[in-house]
């Protein structure tokens, strides 16, 4: 039963691909409307150097943004947990950044930040940092009150309470935020690349997608899209496993 549940998504995907392939060939849909899976695979194969290089560029932006988002979210959450003044000062601006569509601010950031790679990372970080911040802040605020009492009874300093209790208790929350931030960083990176592409910078997968669109190379466009989807799934799964491994070693699992 369990193995069937495991294989079900794969079986469903394969079935969908077969129906897709069959329908496209049967109804003779032109490739510039909807290419068949085999045509997409062929397009990928004939251009894999350029596509994989672009994927690497996008992934580099994503990874840098994820690290930046994790550090920024963590530091801001800490500041908010330690000082009420900091909380009052930071919270509204974090929400403002969160609700402003990154497409709208990306052109500005690309003008302000000279270095293209850095500009993309800044955009993606803005998209990705919020779940880390809000999750970690929630975790730091959710310290079990009885343990906090115990620390007080034993004369713990604020520093001791923070490092021996509040931070470790917030780790599961931080990791859950990180998992969401991973996929958001990818989304942010691609959105920023789309904006940057119109300015001539087109190293990432968004550049390949736009380029393929201009030249009506729809199978190649689908190949780039597929790579993006796979990258998203892999990032999500990898961060999920990372979370489980850390929590198990940490002893808080179950």
């Amino acid at each position: 039963m369990l193995t069937m549940e495991r294989t079900a998504p794969v079986a469903f995907g394969v079935l969908a691909l077969i129906i897709w392939q069959g329908a496209v060939s049967l109804m003779q849909v032109p490739a510039y409307v909807l290419p068949s899976p085999i045509a997409i695979l062929a397009a990928f194969w004939s251009d894999h150097d350029s596509l994989l290089l672009s994927l690497l560029s996008t992934l580099a932006v994503t990874a840098a943004a994820l690290i930046a988002a994790a550090s920024l979210g963590m530091v801001l959450a800490l500041a908010m947990a330690v000082s009420r003044l900091a909380r009052a000062a930071i919270q509204p601006w974090a929400v403002v950044l969160q609700v402003t569509p990154v497409v709208a601010i990306a052109p500005l950031i690309i003008i302000w930040v000279d270095q293209q790679f850095a500009a993309l990372v800044v955009c993606a970080t803005i998209v990705a940092f919020f779940p880390v911040l809000s999750n970690t802040a929630a975790g730091l605020a959710a310290t079990p009150p009885e343990l906090a009492d115990l620390f007080r009874l034993n004369g713990a300093t604020r520093c001791q309470t923070l490092f021996l209790l509040r931070l470790p208790a917030a780790l599961p929350y931080f990791l859950a935020g990180l998992r969401i931030a991973g996929t958001l960083a990818l989304v942010g990176a691609v959105v920023a690349e789309f904006v940057a592409s119109s300015g001539g910078f087109a190293a990432g997968l968004a550049g390949r997608i736009l380029e393929a669109g201009y030249r009506l190379e729809i199978p190649r466009m689908f190949a780039a899209l597929t790579l993006l989807a796979i990258a998203g799934i892999v990032i999500y799964a990898a961060l999920g496993s990372f979370e489980r491994v850390i929590l198990r070693r940490f002893g808080a699992g179950s």
Partner: protein, 247 residues
Amino acid sequence: MLRLTSVGRRFENGVVALAGITTQIDRGEFVVLLGPSGCGKSTMLRILSGLDAPDSGALTWDDGARPGPGDIGFVFQDATLLPWASAEQNVFLPLRLAGKRFDASRAVIRDTLAQLGLAGFEHAKPAALSGGMRMRVAIARALVSCPKLLLMDEPFAALDEFTRHRLQDDLHALWREARTTVVFVTHSIYEAAYLASRILVMTPRPGRIAAEISCALAEAADRRTDPAYADLVAEVTETLHAVMPAC
């Protein structure tokens, strides 16, 4: 050791949790606070620990008895261990907060764990321990700093009967040996009669001490089957029925 004079506590929402509590707690006593849920027993423990303060009346400590950091051991209904720390690291916590080093404390930690029957479980994480063993770690953690006063808030209420009996036996043996002053909260008549050297019966809303029962149960190991224990249970039950308002 300490005296309470007309201690009252009224919360911001208007609930009067305690009113006119006057009693005293002597060194070496095992005082049990017995009463139904919501009668202010936990509030009373928090006031004794200094985590909460009365808003009327006074708490007077004898000379030199006023507790500082580490002088109060507190055990809650849940073990509330640090889930990421091993049994010995959990027990080390009060010493660590007092600035002690682990190496210098290792012997004390081992001994305290062994006293609670946890020899060999030093490195086990809480998730790997049973409910009863987790509670044993929590008691070891409360005792490791040799507190002047041990406060326990329904510590065995969530355990099954067999585990509870074992823990009651062990706790009582520890108390007979060390004569640490204990204030123990429960809503079980049997538990109160078995453990206490004095029972304070509390009535709810506002929480008051309605009766006081001194217990001179033989300090033998088989007290549970002693007829004197059955008599004491009957006495406590009668007292409760006499003072408790109908609900």
